[in-house]
Structures are given as C-alpha cells and as structure tokens.
Symmetry: C2
DNA sequence: TATCAAATTGAAAACGGATTTCAATTTCAG
DNA sequence: CTGAAATTGAAATCCGTTTTCAATTTGATA
C-alpha cells in the first residue's frame, strides 16, 4: 500500500505503517494520530482520502468518535458484507453465498435490493462467544 | 401509547401525537420539536426515553443529525432485523425465516452469533427500485 | 545545487449536533 | 390550597469533525 497523494511524506509513511501494523483494529483519529506520531489534522486528511479510495473502512460509531480500519483488499471489500463484533469490534469479512441467497430472497419476496457492501451485521465473533463474560 | 414519565404533560402528548401521525418517517430532532411545537430539549429528552424503551428507533446517520422513528410494535422490533432504503430512508421490518437461516449458517460456519435486532440491512426499497432515478 | 510553485503540515479556530444546566413553571398527592 | 417532585426550554457547554492559514516540505526544472 502506498500513498496516492502527489508527494510522499514522512507523516504518511508513519500513518500507513501504523495502520498496517494494527490491521485488525478499529482506530479512532486520536489513536491514529498519537500512535503514528503525526498531527490530528494530517491523520484526519489521510484517513478521509484513504476511506474515499476504499483502502480503509470508516465507522461512524453511534457513541463517541468514529473509527478507521485498514482494509487489506479494497476491491474485494467493495463487494461483500461485513460483520462486526459488538464485544470486541473485530471486523469479519463475509464473502459468502448464503448472504447472496438472502439477497435473492429479499429481492424476490420483499422487493428489496440489498446493497451488500454497505451492510454490516452485528453480533458476537467466535472468540467473544467462547470467551463469554471476559 | 402513553408516556412513562411520572407526569403527563401537554408537550408529551403533542410529541407522541406527532410521532404517531408520522409513523412511517424518520424525523430529526428539529423536525420533531418544530412539528410538535415543543422545545428541542423536551423533544430530545422524551425521544431518548422512548428510544431506551424501544418505542422509537434511533438512527445515528453518518452524516448530519440523528433521526427517530416511531415503532408500532416495540416487542416485535426488539427481535427482528430491519432494512433501510438508502434512497428514501424507509424502514422495512424483516421478520423473516431467511434471515434466521442466515443466522444459523453464520453460527455454524463462521462462528458468528448474529444479533438480529441490532442489524440493519441497506439497499433500495421496492418503490425506489421502481421509481429509479426519481 | 539553486529556485520556486505546488503540496503538505498542524496548531488553532470555526463549526455543528448532542447533552447538560438551571431558573421558572407545571403537575399532582395530600 | 400547599409544597415537593417533575418538567420545561433557552442558553450554555461539551466534544468530535472540519476548515483555515501561515510555515514548511517536496520535487520538477534549470
């Protein structure tokens, strides 16, 4: 992953390194800026740019700050749905025939054209389900 | 539907009447306050109370203000998933066996325990699909 | 290497919606 | 009635997002 901005700068490298190093996590703007050691404005602008390119997911959490998360394969993620664990916030990719079958059913029986890539399913991931109370 | 607050007041009646009269719509705080003719703070507090009781849905739209929508049957809505049209914002209830089948699949094959009632599917509703560019 | 226009940075300010404060008012039990 | 408790709503506050802008950095060109 490389920056798409015209100039390559130290700050962008730092941010992208930090993002990739925390690929499984959802990071707030502050966590990113502090973690990568760049200004908040810089982090904000690069994240918005990357989000618009699909290189990161942007989550507008209902409570508190929004989060960004590195996306390994933007092209693939632009097509499938995702699951988010309500306990640990892990993002799970869901490139799955069952979802497409549901989409077909929704269209046929409910007249609703599911936009898979915009849809996020909530629940508990395998780890949190086991870990339970932890 | 009656207020659960200790006192019944004119403002609450106005708000609840207005909510029920616009049962199919998602209303911002301002629309509610202005529409019902009560103060924003009052609208805010009653909506938060009703949302916590499940009597209204609260949507935290990514852009702009959050919205509230009257829920005819809170008990039922606390159990099933919903679809929201990305064009007209209509809320569609989805009490549907196919979703439960997907939930079973997610649990069996992905180890993910879907929380149906917290999940919102996005796409185009039947009307917007027909209406198309309109 | 020197020069400079364009791009980038980040502190600070502006913005905007959510939430709280608090004095005045309303409700209702006794 | 009376008064304690609840409610109201304008205004203030909070807090995350976005913009501004002067200073800095980058990289193409000579």
């Amino acid at each position: 992953m490389t920056s798409r901005g015209a100039y390559s700068t130290k700050q962008r490298s730092l941010l992208i390194d930090y993002l990739e190093a925390h690929a499984g996590q959802r990071l707030t703007l502050d966590e990113l800026a502090v973690g990568a050691g760049v200004g908040r404005t810089t982090a904000y602008r690069l994240m918005e740019m990357l989000a618009s390119q699909g290189a990161v997911h942007k989550y507008q959490a209902a409570e508190g700050s929004c989060c960004y998360q590195f996306v390994a394969d933007p092209k693939a993620c632009a097509q499938h749905a995702h699951m988010v664990c309500t306990a640990c916030s892990e993002l799970v990719h869901l490139d799955c025939g069952e979802v497409r079958q549901l989409a077909r059913h929704l269209l046929a029986e409910h007249g609703f054209a599911l936009d898979e890539k915009r849809t996020v399913l909530y629940g508990l991931c395998a780890d949190c389900l086991k870990g339970d109370g932890a």
